[in-house]
Subunit: 340 residues, 2 copies
């Protein structure tokens, strides 16, 4: 992972295109609900003063680029970008409540500031709003259909993620399926929703969907690697947070399901009591070393590269606009090599 890898220009441009509509949509919410959402997005602090901005807005960028990829203006993808970003943030708000996560993007999570009920209700409002914003778009029906399927997959992904917490026998196949549902499905929708709104044909939509899905898995693999070996400044989480939480992330499950002595030792560590929020740093370091020794890091790095290659190939020969394709590829490189 390169240090100081610069965000591609298309990411900023897409955010500038989508954010005004996203803010306008959220501004339509009741003030008490809007306040929670605006805090969560990073637009406001808890006292209502201006915030320092939010996430990278990768999904809105994919939506805008997917419209451009099929020859339409980027603005055609904007309602799609707003909708997928709303669904993404609905799921973050609810997941943080369910997982009890207290920090996100270096800030206290919304439920810790406003309470669990307020965060649940704000998430509900964003989900309903996502379908609402597509009502006025031409060809919104097809976009809504992809959004509805992706939302159901997202929910199922969280169901399995929570279930995995209580199991030690999680297999690699089901772990990949979980990540596919929890992360890749909405990325697939984001990467094709602009093309859908532009009325593209099925072959181009499918190519963009494959791009988004494979990129989503590569992204999750990189995220999981950072969750173990990333520095706190990069991840916004404490060192080894995923290991302390005994999270069954992809590199961990790959290591555990390897038939190695390191894998067996890692399983024993996860089954015991030594790994926890306040665990001895040496125990956390040992767990990380075991994942590496059992081949979990290697596998995850290779698998991310393989997924990224499949993503690249999917859009290389689909007759898409060449400038948009370049931007999509740059975005893919960025989100899978990020150091932040």
């Amino acid at each position: 992972m390169d240090a100081h890898f610069e965000p591609p220009v298309a990411l900023g441009a897409a955010r500038e295109l989508v954010e005004p509509s996203l803010r306008a949509a959220v501004d339509r919410l009741d003030p008490k609900v809007r306040r929670v959402a605006a805090y969560h997005f990073g637009w406001e602090e808890r006292d209502g003063s201006p915030g320092r901005g939010g996430g990278k807005a990768v999904r809105p960028a994919l939506a805008v680029l997917s419209a451009r990829a099929v020859g339409a203006d980027g603005t055609v993808g904007v309602p799609g970008g707003v909708a997928v970003e709303l669904v993404h943030n609905f799921s973050l708000l609810h997941d943080d409540v369910m997982d009890g996560d207290e920090e996100r993007r270096h800030r206290p999570t919304a439920w810790t500031v406003f309470g669990r009920s307020a965060a649940i209700l704000a998430g509900d409002a964003l989900l309903a709003l996502a379908f609402d914003v597509l009502l006025d778009a031409d060809r919104g029906r097809d976009a809504q259909s992809c959004l509805a399927s992706a939302t159901q997959e997202l929910i199922v992904g969280q169901v399995y993620d929570l279930e995995f917490e209580n199991r030690l026998d999680v297999g690699l196949t089901e772990c990949i399926a979980m990540a596919g549902a929890k992360t890749a499905a909405l990325m697939a929708c984001a990467a094709s929703i602009g093309a859908r709104l532009a009325g593209a044909g099925p072959a181009q939509i499918e190519a963009l969907e494959t791009f988004g899905r494979e990129l989503g898995l590569a992204f999750q693999l990189v995220d999981d690697i950072l969750g173990i070996w990333g520095s706190p400044e990069v991840t916004g989480k404490p060192v080894g947070a995923d290991l302390r939480a005994r999270k069954k992330s992809l590199p961990v499950v790959a290591a555990m399901s390897s038939e190695t002595t390191a894998g067996a030792e890692l399983r024993a560590l996860y089954a015991g009591e030594k790994l926890h929020t306040d665990a001895d740093p040496q125990v956390v370091a040992r767990a990380a070393a075991l994942v590496e020794e059992a081949g979990g890091r290697r596998w995850a790095t290779d698998e991310a590269a393989r997924r990224l290659a499949v993503a690249r190939t999917a859009i290389a020969n689909a007759g898409l606009d060449s400038s948009a394709t370049r931007d999509l590829l740059a975005l893919a490189d960025y989100v899978t090599q990020r150091d932040h």
Copy 2:
């Protein structure tokens, strides 16, 4: 309230029309999510064995009757009936988690059986599904738009309901606004969604919406009266449950905001420590007597009758189908005179 008031024939007929589609929609969910939803609907017990059925399905009946009211076949309203029932049950699942309610329809609530996260996720799934089921309907856009607005109102209603729990100065106007958002908005959507799907004109849609909104408020007033004076067999809740929970229901707020000594005593009782889940039955009985003495019961009964009259008038002269209008009026009488 008459004893043994029989449900109107139209209620059963509409349920028979809507339930197969409702079940088919829920069956499309992932099995783990579907299981929670099927338990919540009363279709299954916690072990997956057949349940004894669910709620009265008033909203689906309104949807079907509103299609018939504008001259269409009742089946035209079915996707609308499914969608409003899904949104209604999404809100019940989430509200029970937020309110910590452990019983609904004489059964343990879903979160007490499957856990809070499972209930939140099942609610999320039903909300997304509600928009999904309207995608294939002709004129689904207008129906979705009314559903999206009603959902936002529903959410805001719950925000205020929760806020009221921590306040003693709740005014009658804001309490009516809360009930309007939490109950009446979705009833207004239910009572007009079939007409929207049938492509009715704005005057008929508005008449049906007014009918649903006023009926929704009358329904809530009756529900609040039952919450204080209803028997447990009727309400499915322990005697005086709303008073034990120090709920700011409409009759209570009416009593508290009356300038009477009984109202002042009731305020003091709500501000103190004597009213709680295990309170002395005499204290609960005293609170109920104070609501009555301060005119809260009288006001709520009169207000329900007044709202019901407005509802009736709204559809009396709107050029609606006379047989459907008769069924709507019978349904309105039933839900506001129910003894169960």
